[in-house]
């Protein structure tokens, strides 16, 4: 889940499941030796990445900080995302609210987003305005000015954002409870946007402390994608980001989970719910945490199990038996700590929840007992690798894949070798990964239920 500073008003139609299935596709680092990035590191520790793509005279600048909601301390949930908002509140050189206005006046668009492991800022603009947005972005890397006058109204804004995203949505409220139940010890058990009562208490001092601690070039990555080469980018990066001094940053801590002892179940009943949705989350390794050797195989597994309308789950509970209107699986290997493998299905109104749950459990058992076939693996791998070509078709996909990889502890090389690694995954590895992950005691089952109105 990512939060964006601006709301997307086109998402009214998206249902939980569609989003989940899409995550499976997007979660895989869409890449192959296709982005062909060039890199360098400034003396102050800032990693600079150029991703040339010359089809249109436009560029996207992204600055990623290796800091997110997973780095928050108990009691201050939401501060990472709050600071993301506050980064638009001005510097000595740029008055509050002017950042986006300057970008807009120059024909550019800008925004930012926060996740558990990173916070990122970006602008898309004509190539001859790149220098301008580099000047602006580097300025706020060290010169942010915050005071109560600008911070406190913005705190009301993030509280409204929470109401929009979570409190008004029964499925988002259930997801929040499931996360909290899945992670016993990891900071991922807190919502990215924060718990409301803690958000309401965040102060200007909290924000300034967070900024001073983590916003430093050695904790950041500058990525410029589009009509640019490193030869063009390097002097500008040196000019604008080079003079910013580095500061030591505390190491990232992701407390590990204790061995799970018991399966958990969370049910949320709400009178606005009109369709029962069944979801299960399993604790799963990421590229860098847990049994990380399974991370590639789990992506292939997600594709086989729930990656489309011919996947096992969809075929079983939507096509062969009339139990669900949709079903899918999702897995995102990019996380500093343990991540999750999820499966989900939305109940048909004329079917019974216990039948659907039984069928989903039976599919898991069939998978764990019987494994996957060579044909299934081959089909899934071909589909995943084709996504790479489509990813190259977008200016931001490469910047996002690389930014996400580096901020979650992997590397550009790992992004670039993704297609060959996926192609090498064997049926035995997929089966072994399934057996490692699908363990009841490491799971949370969540059910969204209608509540008859009184």
């Amino acid at each position: 889940m990512k939060l964006s500073r601006r709301s997307l008003r086109c998402c009214w139609q998206v249902i939980v499941l569609a989003a989940a299935v899409m995550c499976a596709a997007l979660g895989a680092p869409a890449s192959a030796q296709v982005f062909n990035p060039e890199t360098m590191t400034l003396p102050n520790g800032l990693l600079v990445v150029a991703i040339p793509n010359h089809r249109a005279p436009i560029v996207t600048q992204m600055v990623w900080y290796k800091i997110g909601a997973g780095d928050e301390v108990p009691g201050k949930s939401g501060i990472a995302h709050f600071l993301e908002h506050l980064m638009f509140k001005g510097t000595k050189a740029v008055p509050p609210g002017e950042f986006s206005k300057i970008v807009g006046r120059n024909g550019g668009r800008d925004n930012a987003f926060t996740s558990y492991d990173y916070t990122a800022y970006f602008q898309s603009i004509a190539r001859d305005r790149l220098e301008l947005v580099m000047k602006l972005e580097s300025d706020r890397m060290r010169n942010l000015v915050l005071n109560d006058a600008s911070v406190l109204p913005e705190r009301d804004v993030i509280l409204e954002e929470r109401r929009s995203r979570i409190d008004n949505n029964p499925d988002a409220r259930l997801t929040e409870q499931m996360q909290a139940a899945l992670y016993l010890n990891s900071p991922y058990h807190r919502p990215i946007i924060g718990w409301e009562h803690e958000m309401a208490q965040l102060t200007t001092q909290d924000a300034i402390a967070w900024y001073r601690r983590y916003y430093t070039p050695n904790n950041a990555i500058l990525i410029v994608a589009g009509d640019i080469t490193m030869a063009e980018l390097k002097p500008l990066a040196e000019k604008y980001y080079g003079p910013i001094p580095s500061r030591p940053v505390p190491p990232r801590v992701r407390p590990t989970e204790p061995p799970p002892e018991v399966a958990r179940r969370v049910e949320l009943k709400d009178q606005r719910v009109r369709q029962t949705v069944w979801t299960r989350l399993y604790l799963a390794p990421s590229y860098v945490a847990g049994d990380k050797q399974y991370a590639d195989a789990l992506q292939v597994l997600a594709e086989i199990f729930g990656g489309g309308v011919t996947s096992r789950l969809h075929k079983s509970v939507v096509i062969d038996r009339p139990l669900a209107t949709s079903a899918g699986a999702f897995y995102d290997p990019d996380a500093v700590g343990l991540t999750q493998f999820g499966i989900s299905a939305a109940l048909r109104p004329d079917a019974k929840l216990e039948d659907l749950e039984g069928a989903m459990n039976a599919e898991i058992k069939r998978l764990v007992d019987g494994g996957v076939t060579a044909d299934e693996v081959q089909r899934a791998e071909r589909r995943l690798r084709a996504d790479v070509v489509y990813a190259r078709d977008s200016l931001q996909a490469g910047a996002r894949a690389i930014g996400e990889a580096i901020t979650t502890g992997t590397s550009i090389e790992q992004v670039e070798t993704w297609p060959s690694r996926i192609a090498a995954v064997t049926p035995e590895e997929v089966t072994a990964a399934a057996r490692a992950v699908f363990r009841d005691e490491g799971s949370v089952t969540g059910v969204l239920l209608p509540k008859p109105s009184s």
Binding site: S7, R382, A386
Partner: protein
């Protein structure tokens, strides 16, 4: 390779330090291709990535043409076209689509049916064959139809409780009572239940004709190849579609406030009044005024006043929604129940000030630089380029539109903008729908809202109208 590049960078650095040179924004050549079968295709070639995107629209083949009692036909058809065709049943058809990583889809709107095909170049022939069969030999098997109908009906039931959808649908039902645009785009649970395969075949035959077809393509393909491809896809599609006459219309019940009680902590507000159609001479002035009012995100007055200064909302915006037979200027926000009345009061003031005084010279200049400068940002992917080619044809803007657009925007004067703000933004005419438990709000009494003789109750998901952009 990396080291080599760095070396060059060092050598060239002093020269390049100066500035990155601009390149012409319209470095995009559009080929106008007429296929042997007589179909016009606009094409932007880009051979850098081995993929091709074909976007198409059947003008007029939207939900607005549905007969009474057949609501939801276009939307159901858009789903059912993917459920098996020719020799392939649903699972085999979709299996091929998935295995070859073909992206194939249809989308029904009120005014048209849009379609999209994206494929790796190597699979393009198979992809074209699948799309051809979908359009000309769809199976519409009973079991698939029943399954898809259940999915749509379940979605309709869900969105009946989704505050944003309720607000959007109520707005449209109130503004267009008894008219096709006031009905939910996806139909109702009851109307979808009554639809059968014959209704789909009839709609397909009557409305998806080549006389209504608009095609844009982008990617790894030559003009000759795209002509062959498009002929292959649309071979057998009827040359002539049924005559449909939908007259121009305008929103009604303006100035009313509708409150729909729902147990949510945050009230959703949707508001709007009459706007402009795409071919209105004031379209560009309206686009600029809207940007300044609420279209420009953090550069807009609404965001400044409602969000930045007062922290009343995370999101507040306005937009132009040009349809074929009317236009709307719409807006939305969401604020906790206790403060939503204040949000509405502030946005009404912003609306009124823009109506009375119009934008300043400086605001207009800034809006122009954004709207002209940001236009090339949408040339980011082949899909976006192909869609742009379709929309330029749809709106009959001319093949040189991309070059002329800048001038069309820059030509708008402050006097034009003030006149258009006066014309469009009458605060007394705002139709306002609030969904939630808003404190201190007074709704218009129900008997003052003209239901036009047919109040579609219960309502289900109508779209939040979205404009097709300029």
């Amino acid at each position: 390779m990396m080291r080599h590049v760095r070396l060059i960078a060092v050598l060239l650095a002093p020269v390049l330090l100066a500035v990155i040179a601009p390149r012409p924004a319209a470095a995009m050549t559009i080929d106008r291709v007429v296929s042997p079968g007589g179909i016009t295709i606009w094409l932007v070639q880009d051979h850098s990535i081995p993929a091709v995107d074909v976007e198409f629209t059947f003008r007029g083949a939207g939900a607005a043409t549905e007969a009474k009692g057949k609501e939801g036909t276009a939307n159901l058809l858009s789903d059912m076209l993917l459920e098996g065709a020719g020799d392939l049943d649903s699972q085999h058809f979709q299996g091929q689509v998935e295995d070859l990583s073909i992206e194939l889809g249809f989308n029904a709107g009120f005014d048209s049916m849009e379609g999209s095909l994206k494929s790796l170049t190597e699979n393009l022939d198979t992809a074209a064959g699948l799309l051809h069969d979908a359009l000309t030999r769809p199976r519409f098997e009973a079991s698939d139809l029943a399954r898809v109908k259940t999915r749509i009906q379940t979605g309709l039931r869900r969105s009946r409780e989704e505050p944003r959808t309720i607000a959007g649908e109520t707005f449209m039902a109130t503004a267009f009572p008894g008219q096709p645009y006031g009905r939910p785009l996806r139909g109702s649970v009851e109307s979808v239940e009554a639809l059968g395969a014959d209704d789909l075949r009839e709609f397909l035959r009557a409305h998806l004709g080549r006389d209504k077809l608009i095609v844009g393509a982008a990617g790894d393909i030559t003009p000759e190849a795209v002509a062959r491809l498009v002929d292959r896809i649309f071979d057998g599609v009827p040359a002539q579609s049924a005559a449909v006459t939908i007259g121009d219309t305008a929103p009604r019940n303006l100035g009313q406030t509708i409150v729909i009680e729902r147990p949510v902590p945050q009230s959703i507000v949707t508001f709007g009044e009459a706007g402009v159609k795409r071919n209105d001479p004031d379209f560009y002035a309206a686009t600029l005024v809207n940007y300044i009012l609420g279209g420009g995100g953090f550069n807009s007055r609404l965001t400044t006043e409602v969000r930045e200064k007062r922290g009343l909302a995370y999101s507040v915006f306005s937009y132009l929604a040009p349809y074929d037979h009317f236009g709307l200027v719409m807006g939305g926000t969401a604020t906790e129940n206790a403060r939503v009345a204040q949000s509405i009061s502030v946005l009404r003031d912003v609306w009124k000030k823009m109506h009375d005084e119009g934008p300043s010279e400086r605001e207009l200049v800034n809006a122009k630089t954004y709207l002209t400068g940001s236009f090339p940002l949408q040339f980011d992917s082949t899909t976006q380029i192909a869609r742009l080619l379709v929309s330029i044809q749809y709106d009959d803007l001319g093949i040189d539109y991309i070059d002329r657009r800048k001038d069309l925007i820059n030509r708008v004067t402050v006097a034009d903008a003030k006149r258009v703000a006066q014309r469009l933004l009458d605060p007394a005419k705002l139709l306002m729908v609030v969904v939630g438990q808003p404190a201190g709000m007074t709704a218009t009494p129900a008997d003052k809202v003209n239901s036009g003789g047919s109040a579609p109750q219960p309502r289900s998901a109508a779209p939040v109208p979205t404009g097709r952009g300029g």
